[in-house]
Amino acid sequence: MDVPSYFEDFLKNIRPDAEQRLAMAAAHKDLRERLQRDKKLAPFLIANFIQGSYRRHTGLVGTKENQCDVDLVVVTNVPSTSPPTLALEMFRPFLEENYKGRYEPQGRSWCIHWSDIITLDLVPTSAPSEANQNFFRSIVTGFTFEDPVFDRAMRKYAHKDLLAEAVLSERKKGWQVEPLEIPDREAKVWEKTHPLAQIAWTADKNAACDGHYIDVVRAIKWWRRAIEPEPKYPKGYPLEHLVGACCPDRLGGIGEGVALAFDAIIERYAGEAAAKTKPKLTDHGVDHDVLGRVPVDHFLAFYEKVKTAAELARAARAADTVARSVRLWRELFGVAFPEPPKEDGRSDAKTVIGGFSERQGPTVPSGGRFA
């Protein structure tokens, strides 16, 4: 059984809670406002937008060990002929002034420690082409760009994801928004990345899956984090991309998506698993292997774990009672999945509540008090 209402409550437990969501929104709002006010940086900044799992609604609840990341991409006009470190270093004075003692450099970004469970990542990019610059200027109205809110009751975005829509509509017109380039501090090179394509693809896929895709991703990420943390990789975006590649469209529910995604992973990469290699997965919009940094032995160990999980998911779906099904799902996902009901739910003829009962005599109203 697919028990959709149980999955709804499971997701409530693994999504960032309302307090965290508010805190994350406050964090990036604060950063963007400060960036806007900074007069020294003003000539160099074109636009900014949020990327990452927070943006794609595929993130999990934050804890001290697994913090909530909010990635802010800041599109600058630093030419890609300049050294990459320049694009990073130009933010140091700003960070020193606004987030003294709370920031540190990372490979491709600046990391701001907002709280003990929320981090902000400031990811600068080089100047895009003229056409791209115009695109960004046209759709992003300064720093008031709204991130879409996912309406869970309606299973769709509460209002249009402007950015995703814009990308998709440009594509329809025959013009592709180009990838951006972000600096790699150590390698001292510019790397191509296409967060917009990822965002657009995810929104599209979610619509094709009747709003269930992002929850399937979350559920599987949770399975990795809470139940099968070994091997370490794949996790994060590579895991998400893997699920995206294998999850079928037109899902009836989350349980169905999880089970079918697992089955598809096993089937699709059976060859690689047998050959003791890993597949190559091309990212959206850039020629980049998503699994590039995943060691082969990690992938193979992961593949074995997926086989077990797939069996569990299949059994849970095939179970003939609610209680049995819920118990199996709970085995797969852990205690974050709601508990099964105490009894099997089949009331016998004698029980009074929640079912038909044979009439023994005249109907006696319950309660028995009148006024």
Partner: protein, 606 residues
């Protein structure tokens, strides 16, 4: 706007809604979300029924409105605008389009009503307060839809339910008994004039006084009590009847004149012709009302057991100088044509009014005293702290003919244990009590005689003779003596109810005969009076009030009410059992360890 997610719904409700997994024909379409009107959670479900019909597709969508106080509070179930049923069925509120901007219609399906029973099995009532309550609703919704699809909502033998008419505030009372169906069947008249007494204007309260032919011959007269007979204002109207219950679709009452027109045409009645003729004598006579009569059964599938007269307010019709121009001046045709073209068009709504059968049987469904009491003509002597509540209990229990005899006035201090009100202070008790009794039910005829029993005039005494049961509530030996001396022509029942000091005991006496057996009464009551006196030796009675020099008998309303009710109960039992020999029962208030412990019978005969 707050995050409209099911997260913030109360835990007990979230757990309860997971029970939907147990009902395979149900599916969650839209999870819990707060409704705009606050303190209500909405849930959209889809039902897939085994059967479908013209008005019930195989899948239907429903919106549940769950009180935020779940598992307390109400739960309503409305058809969705998108994918829900659009017709009205039995056991369903009128199913109209509903508020703009909301995704639900108005037809709440009455799954919690006990009359909705499936297959002769009795459903237990809505398990209010229990966490699993939602599951009960899920199962019932599935049953309701299945029953709607198979025509099983109104099964032969189920209690009959009228279709819901969309009514404006107000009420019209009529009278109808089983004989009416045959009466109207036998007449050729299908419409005519109706008369109404106006009991109240805001909100409207009318009582039907009679149904006549258009030429004024009475077909059915309604006999009412004093209140209706004393009504100062009367209004007129029309009546028309049809052979079948006016239903459209599965179970919807007509809403417009066009719909009624079509329904009546199917019955062989030309509505326009009927209206034209019936309205003829009523033009220019002020606000008019109407009645649509049809026989209704007690159970679905049964034969008609009474006429139901559904009331409506007629629109303002043409008269005087207002007529259809171009036609003969002030001719019936020109008036009617104007009406037909302005207020009786197909799309004009009928302004239905709530109407009810106010026959004794219908009004008394919640309980009536035994027939031997209800049918009796009563005379209650003494309209004081015993007589007033006793007569009120009699009337509410169904007694229709009652006279109150008392020469006293009502004072403010009496309010501690009486039924009269501020307005009655310094008025005579007898007429005031009678007036109040007349306002209890439209069938009561309460009269009064303002005099003390020993001082009755000849004609007043003759009036009292027209009674079946005389009840002494005076507490006065003099009254008992007077009743004992006056010989009645025919034997009747005599009752006496009086209280001991402080209403600790009530002395309940009954006998049947041509006069009151006062000797028997005094000899039986005597020892109790003595006992009472000894118990209260030395006790000082309260004074009337500062400045007044006479004492009053203490006794509070709740003390007296309990004793009077017990006495009446006993007397009705003796009457029903025809115990005609003189007998006295004494009931006493019981107290144990300082707590009230009931009323018990304490006399030796017990």
């Amino acid at each position: 706007m707050p995050d409209p997610s099911p997260e913030s719904a109360p835990e007990v409700l979230r757990v309860a809604r997971r029970a939907i997994e147990y009902v395979p024909s149900l599916r969650l379409v839209q999870d819990l979300a707060p409704a705009r009107r606050g303190s209500v959670w909405t849930l959209c479900i889809e039902v897939t029924a085994l059967h479908s019909s013209e008005h019930v597709p195989s899948t239907t969508r429903w919106w549940m409105h769950i009180d935020a106080r779940y598992p307390w509070g109400t739960i309503e179930v409305y058809p969705a605008k998108d994918g829900g049923i659009t017709e009205t069925f039995p056991h369903q509120d009128l199913n109209t389009e509903g508020e703009k901007g909301e995704p639900w219609r108005t037809g709440d399906i009455c799954v919690r009503e006990p009359s909705f029973a499936i297959g002769r099995r009795g459903f237990d009532r809505d398990p209010l307060g229990r966490p699993e309550r939602l599951r009960w609703y899920f199962e019932r919704i599935a049953s309701w839809v299945e029953a709607a699809a198979t025509g099983g909502l109104a099964r032969t033998g189920d209690p009959f339910e009228l279709p819901q008419f969309k009514t404006a505030p107000g009420i019209v009372g009529f009278q109808s008994e089983e004989a009416d169906v045959a009466l109207f069947d036998a007449t050729p008249w299908r419409s005519g004039t109706a008369g109404f007494a106006v009991l109240r204007t805001e909100p409207l309260q009318l009582a039907l006084t009679g149904l006549l032919t258009t030429s004024g011959a009475v077909i059915r007269d309604c006999v009412w009590g004093e209140r209706v007979r004393q009504a100062k204002q009367h209004v007129a109207g029309i009546w028309l009847r049809t052979n079948s219950i006016p239903i459209l679709g599965p179970y919807r009452a007509p809403r417009t004149w066009g719909e009624l027109r079509r329904l009546l045409a199917g019955d062989g009645t030309d509505l326009d012709q009927t209206l034209k003729t019936a309205l003829r004598p009523l033009r220019g006579r002020g606000p008019l009302f109407g009645l649509l009569g049809f026989p209704i059964p007690k159970t679905f599938g049964g034969g008609g057991t009474q006429m139901h007269w559904q009331a409506f307010r007629l629109p303002k019709i043409a008269s005087g100088e207002v007529y259809m121009k171009g036609f003969r001046r002030k001719h019936q045709d020109s008036y009617w044509l104007r009406d037909r073209g302005t207020v009786f068009r197909d799309n004009d709504s009928i302004q239905w009014l709530r109407s009810e059968n106010w026959s004794a049987a219908e009004l008394g469904t919640r309980g009536q005293l035994p027939p031997s009491v209800v049918e009796a003509r009563f005379v209650v002597i003494g309209g004081g702290s015993v007589g007033a509540p006793l007569s009120e209990l009699l009337v509410r229990g169904g007694v229709r003919r009652i006279s109150i005899v008392d020469g006293d006035k009502y004072h403010a201090g009496n309010g501690v244990r009486h039924t009269l009100l501020l307005d009655d202070i310094e008025a005579f008790k007898a007429p005031s009590v009678a007036a109040r009794l007349n306002r209890i039910s439209p069938l009561v005829e309460a009269k009064s005689i303002t005099a003390f029993i020993p001082d009755l005039k000849r004609e007043e005494w003759d009036e009292i003779q027209q009674s079946d049961i005389i009840v002494d509530c005076t507490g006065e030996d003099d009254a008992i003596a007077a009743l004992g001396e006056a010989k009645c022509e025919v034997p009747r029942w005599f009752w006496s109810v009086s209280l001991s000091l402080g209403a600790k005991r009530v002395y309940v006496f009954s006998a049947r005969g041509e006069d009151f057996p006062s000797q028997a009464f005094f000899s039986r009551v005597g020892p109790w009076i003595e006992k009472d006196r000894l118990e209260h030796a030395g006790v000082v009675m309260p004074w009337e009030g500062t400045g007044c020099w006479h004492s009053v008998v203490p006794g509070r309303a709740e003390e007296i009410t309990v004793m009077v009710a017990a006495a009446l109960r006993y007397l009705c039992d003796t009457r029903a059992m025809n115990l005609s020999a003189p007998n006295l029962a004494v009931f006493e208030r019981q107290v144990k360890d300082g707590l009230f412990a009931g009323v018990a019978r304490v006399d030796d005969a017990w």
